[in-house]
């Protein structure tokens, strides 16, 4: 489907539009459900009025003050993980090339644990996670660099770094005092519990800048998926595109981990689900971000309500939901 206005033209895939709309509707539905349900049920119409600041004081208190920050953080963190996963899977031409497999999330964890052990506040932990992620990425990139970075080398070096960092993380936990270890352990599972606007803010800012950047490089990235030579022959400056994409992907997974801890599986599963939903033959930035947002908020909703009043960390649920769905899709693909 092509839309032409004068010399301008934009190409749209109907299937991708449909999938995008469906994901958007789903995200809204999950958001409303998360805002409405809980120990104190708020009827859906009241939720809507409360969101727009017209509701009863009680509803506004619960919806806007208590529940909204958590839901919004979930949406943003999910989107950031989904986008970051899409970027790295495309760059490495490998579904396993997502930040939680190639050491970036583990590096963020190391930074976070060090901050916990150093007795840092929530903000310090977030800062430590972001720093850990960026430092790991720089090291992995430098080690994998040989006149440019090949996808498979990034994955191999990344997997090595991941193993090393996980060992470091375990070591740090065993050396920490019991209270710090418990705090770090909870953070390491990945959780949205008690997240407020100060957690959502940095992720929102990162997405506001990096989502357009990612969308801009997605066209050349789809060409690079066909091979470096093929892309270069089309006039793409492969190394430049790759550097921008890596920077965007690292920052996204860094800020997301800083906000919610290393929630696993969203970065891995979201881009794969998005590709199958849109039937797109290449990286799909918008759909991956949306899928990540839906996946994480739905998982968080389930984590809160499934065994209520017991609250599970969302990381447990993302692994369960994402993993099951992905396994089903892969099974279908084999036919």
């Amino acid at each position: 489907m092509t839309i032409r206005v004068g010399s301008w033209s934009v190409r749209l895939a109907p299937r991708a539009l449909l999938a995008g709309t469906a994901l958007l509707v789903l995200a809204c539905a999950v958001t409303v459900a998360a805002l409405a349900t809980g120990e104190y049920m708020v009827p859906v119409p009241d939720v809507v009025t409360a969101v727009f600041g017209q509701g009863t004081p009680v509803a506004e208190m619960i919806v806007a003050k208590l529940r909204a920050p958590r839901v919004v953080t979930g949406l943003l963190v999910g989107a950031a993980f989904g986008l970051s996963g899409a970027i790295f899977q495309s760059l490495t031409r490998n579904p396993l090339g997502s930040p939680d497999f190639i050491g970036f999330t583990a590096g963020a964890s190391t930074g976070g644990i060090i901050a916990v052990v150093a007795g840092g506040s929530a903000m310090t932990i977030a800062g430590g996670a972001l720093a850990g992620c960026v430092i790991t990425a720089v090291l992995v990139y430098a080690l994998a660099y040989r006149g440019g970075v090949q996808g498979y080398r990034l994955v191999l070096v990344g997997i090595g770094a991941n193993a090393l960092l996980l060992a470091v993380n375990s070591y740090l936990l065993t050396r920490a005092n019991i209270n710090d270890a418990a705090t770090a352990g909870a953070w390491l599972t990945g959780s949205l519990s008690g997240r407020g606007w100060d957690h959502a803010g940095p992720v929102a800012l990162a997405l506001a800048v990096l989502l357009p950047v990612s969308a801009y490089v997605s066209r050349p990235m789809r060409m690079i998926e066909m091979g470096d030579d093929a892309a270069r022959a089309m006039g793409i400056r492969v190394e430049a595109v790759r550097a921008v994409a890596i920077a965007a992907g690292v920052l996204l997974s860094g800020v997301a981990t800083a906000a919610a801890g290393p929630v696993i599986f969203v970065a891995l599963a979201a881009p794969q689900l998005a590709r199958r939903l849109t039937r797109s033959p290449g990286v799909t930035m918008g759909a991956s971000a949306l899928t990540g947002a839906v996946l994480l908020t739905a998982a968080d909703l389930a984590a809160q309500r499934l065994l209520a009043p017991t609250q599970l960390p969302v990381g447990v649920l993302t692994a369960a939901i994402g993993g099951t769905y992905l396994a089903l899709l892969l099974r279908k693909d084999r036919h």
Binding site: V10, M223, D229, A233, M234, G235, R275
Partner: protein
């Protein structure tokens, strides 16, 4: 776009040339001091034994490999000094191997060849549409348009990659071993297609393995060995038993191809078999 210099003059500067090229991967120097020019509107075939540097030379001409010394010139400018999209509108390359994106249709893959002509807000012009349908018609893949590329046969797939390179609409097209992995009938099919494209006015440059096929299709032959150009010219003038022995270490007899009149290499048999057995 710069206009091609007048044809026919022996001293004309060709659109694509390399001067004093030293080509190397990491520390390994493949060729040193190579100077080559591709005659305009020729079907140039680069040939030579394995590891002679023929693909390396092609990759350097296509700016895939940066020469350590020397420079590749396109239309009089150093190729790396030109905007890369601008180069991609003049010079196309079919790499030896490319990765087929998962689940892509033939029409979508061919359409990707239009990338150098597109911008963010000009993603699909009428010219794009025309170029793609023309490329698909020329390579006879129009009927395959909605098929998934992964599900095609090797020969069909190579035609689709060629269609993508054609959709790029470059006056110069470089092909790195376009017939590898194809059976003999598909090899001929692809080479016939290349000959048609040459006929239609394109400058074609291909790396080939088969000397007989090279002799048949090339209007200009570049013979390499050990990183050096050993001989260059029309196949009929260049290919001799001495050259084949020098370049390929093969004793042979050369006869006329009964179909085309071009040289046909017949390797010497180790044991002569009596004709009327």
């Amino acid at each position: 776009m710069a206009t091609a210099p007048a044809k026919g003059s022996p001293l004309m500067a060709s659109r694509l040339s390399g001067t004093s090229l030293t080509l190397a991967y990491d520390q390994r120097v493949v060729a040193a001091g190579l100077t080559v020019s591709i005659p305009d509107e020729s079907f140039t075939v680069i040939i030579g034994p394995n590891a002679c540097g023929k693909s390396t030379l092609l990759r350097a001409l296509a700016r895939m490999l940066k020469p350590r010394t020397g420079a590749v010139h396109l239309d009089g400018s150093v190729i790396t000094s030109l905007p890369s999209k601008e180069v991609a509108r003049r010079l196309g390359l079919l790499p030896q191997t490319s990765i087929v994106p998962d689940g892509i249709t033939v029409a979508d893959l061919v359409a990707r060849g239009r990338y150098p002509h597109q911008r963010l807000m000009r993603q699909w012009s009428k010219a794009d549409e025309r170029a793609v349908s023309e490329a698909m018609r020329a390579t006879d893949v129009t009927e395959l348009g909605d098929r998934i590329v992964d599900e095609l046969s090797g020969g069909q797939r190579q035609r689709v990659w060629l269609a993508m390179a054609l959709a790029q609409e470059t006056p110069i097209l470089l092909l790195d071993e376009p017939t590898t992995f194809l059976d003999i009938s598909h090899q001929i099919e692809v080479l016939d297609l290349c000959a048609d494209l040459h006929e239609a006015g394109r400058t074609m440059v291909a790396v080939l393995h088969d000397l007989n096929q090279a002799c048949r299709y090339a209007t200009h032959l570049i013979v390499m060995r050990g990183g050096e150009i050993v001989a260059e010219g029309e196949p009929g003038d260049v290919v001799t038993p001495e050259l084949v022995r020098q370049v390929f270490d093969l004793r042979c007899e050369i006869i006329q191809d009964p179909q085309t009149g071009t040289p046909l290499i017949v390797p010497e048999a180790r044991r002569r078999v009596t004709a009327s057995a």
